[in-house]
Symmetry: C2
Amino acid sequence: MSTPSMGQPHIPTTHRHVGGEPLDDVDRRILAALVEDARVTNKQLAEMVGIAPSTALMRTRALSERGIITGFEAKVDLAAVGRSVQALISVRLRAHDRDQIDSFTARVPHLPGVLATFHTSGAVDYMLHIAVGSTEELRDWVLDNLTTDPVVGHTETTLVFEQIPGRGPLPE
Amino acid sequence: MSTPSMGQPHIPTTHRHVGGEPLDDVDRRILAALVEDARVTNKQLAEMVGIAPSTALMRTRALSERGIITGFEAKVDLAAVGRSVQALISVRLRAHDRDQIDSFTARVPHLPGVLATFHTSGAVDYMLHIAVGSTEELRDWVLDNLTTDPVVGHTETTLVFEQIPGRGPLPE
DNA sequence: AGTGAAAAGCGCGCTTC
DNA sequence: GAAGCGCGCTTTTCACT
């Protein structure tokens, strides 16, 4: 029944997370608001968070400059841009020498349709999340970009029926 | 003929992708700009795309209203918010009856730390992408939220060393 | 549908506490 | 570090093409 790790207490003897100063409550509220809607005006943001607009502006900038906010992006409906088929592809490499891994890591994430590349531990080396137009295209994509690569040992393609958004990265 | 009682909107005689009117080139350029930086001003956006600001505003609104833009979000550095450990967890359910699946689908995506939930085909039923503070917390998370659930048959947790962003959803 | 001009509202530097 | 003022620019509406 014990929940030993909650919030922020236990920090291993080494160092705390990269990036410097911890976030105060105002910062967290700003982040929450911007994660939910990156296009709120500064004035609205200030009101939501309960601070003056000038302060909100300063805080938001500081969060970007400190690298805590890494960007603002529009989310698009995949089907509307002709990518209605999603898949997760687990990839095991054949050789584990450094150069080959690096070249794979450099090449694959930027192939068309790749939404995310996860470099993983365990039996699988990479997990790719991709979106393409059709199952035929999926088959071709895997053949053209993975199967024919001599570095790739084994792949396993899993269709995604549905992607359900999570509650996001912020604690609470 | 139209299909008024089906879940999908009416699809014209030409089988374009779901969602209505196809996107023209201006729409695509707007999307590209907003995916790259959701906070560009409308004026900048208009200039990039080569249209008047009033038109840019109208187009962008239309894209949101048509559901092609599904939102604008700030991306945050996971380590900075105390979530430096990421994992992918494959989940196989024990029972495949509809109610249990639905209850799992309703519960799991909103657990703390869940970034995305993929409902998949094949040997695995779900793939969860989560971010937590430490490996100890990861272990507890899996135990508390998955292992102890009678609906869950089998899980396999894979640590993510690195997540490499893709080239995004847009064609090119 | 796309545009331009005009009014409303905001971003943001500067000053003060 | 946070709030208030004020100018200049942006956003947004609307009549017109």
